[in-house]
Amino acid sequence: MNPEKVGLEVAVQCWKDVKINHCIMDFSCGGDEMQDVDFVFYGENENVLPSDTLNDFFKHEVFEKVDFYVNSGDEYIGEFGTVRIELNEEQADFDYTKSTTSEHSERITESFIYQLTDEEFNIFRDKIEDINGEGRSVNFNYKSDCIISDDEISILEKFEGKIIHFINNAIIKNEHGDPEEESENFECDVEDTLNTAEKTIEILVSRSFYYTVSE
């Protein structure tokens, strides 16, 4: 049967003929698209009943009757869940009940004061304009052309290991949800934040947190 031609009346009659109690549709959407949906029809005793006619009917009808939020944006990733479909005999139509869990990813940035050693402070003061990176590597941007001595190379390599450890273990307050793996990055404007009295720099650490909201 052509799925376009299955009407409500035919669908209601088919539902009664096959003796369906309810239908569960599983869905998942996000990233601007709906994933393949699946309809399972259950009888009185939770026995699964096949119906190509109703499958064809609901795969169009459900999108007319239920809102799905497929467009990801800002913190919203998408949603997944089920739609329970039951026959409303009085109105000769179907009732749709959506149970959904929406997925979110929130990026939180927090400022940390990082204590430099005397040697690190001297290099940062004289040669480094800013640094940035993620949980695995560090980029140094220099103020101007310069020569980096072997001692300074060694100091910067040790600093790199320490700052990566610091970034990966920084505890960000006010977060909710689970930290996303390898989502950390950081930046530090050395010229603006270098505290010459305390020998510290201010580092902005960002990390993404995943959380869900169920309705």
């Binding site: 020569i147 001595s149 072997d150 190379i153």
Partner: protein, 216 residues
Amino acid sequence: MKIIVNNVEFPFNEGCKLLKLKHGSSSVCPFKEIEEFWNDIEPLTFREIITIFKNVEQRRIGLLYLGLENLSKEIKSTLVSSETISKKTTWTNKEGIVKSVHFDDKYELYSVSGEELLGDPSLTTFHYVKFKDTSTVREYLLWIDYYHIYRLKNYQDVTAIDAIAWTIQTNLREGGIEKIIRQGDCILLMKNKNSHIGAVRHLTGNEYRSLLVLES
């Protein structure tokens, strides 16, 4: 030790040679750490830049300070073709007055052997077209695929104008261009009444020679 030039890291020896290239042979040493032997440092050559630096950022900085003039001087190239197009155009001067200007637009096509360029005699011959920006008089070199143009011209000799035209691509079919206006890398093609969209192709020398009406 390592040397930072334009925020890119270089090994110490190559970094010293690059600093010499950047600051000039008769310059004052920029760092006291290398003052002692600054006068003995030889600036990087084109071949060294191409063969030593595998990192494109390092190569970019090297070529930036080598400059086109040094590049042209260093590699022994042969003039294959030269052609000057005389043009009349209108420019607005500083006082806002529109003036009619005559200028000569000279294009030169050079070849350089693979051995000369990269020290590898097994490599093919390379070609570049040299021309001037008509408003700034700055010189530019563009590498071109001579043999591709040669095939496109049904195996006839390639001229400097064929070469510069080849650097421009369009999807307008031949015969469909009313005129060409050029401002540096920005090329504007005006369609004529017979214009049709087709496959992307290179401009021909004839089109460049006859349809280019304005340059700045």
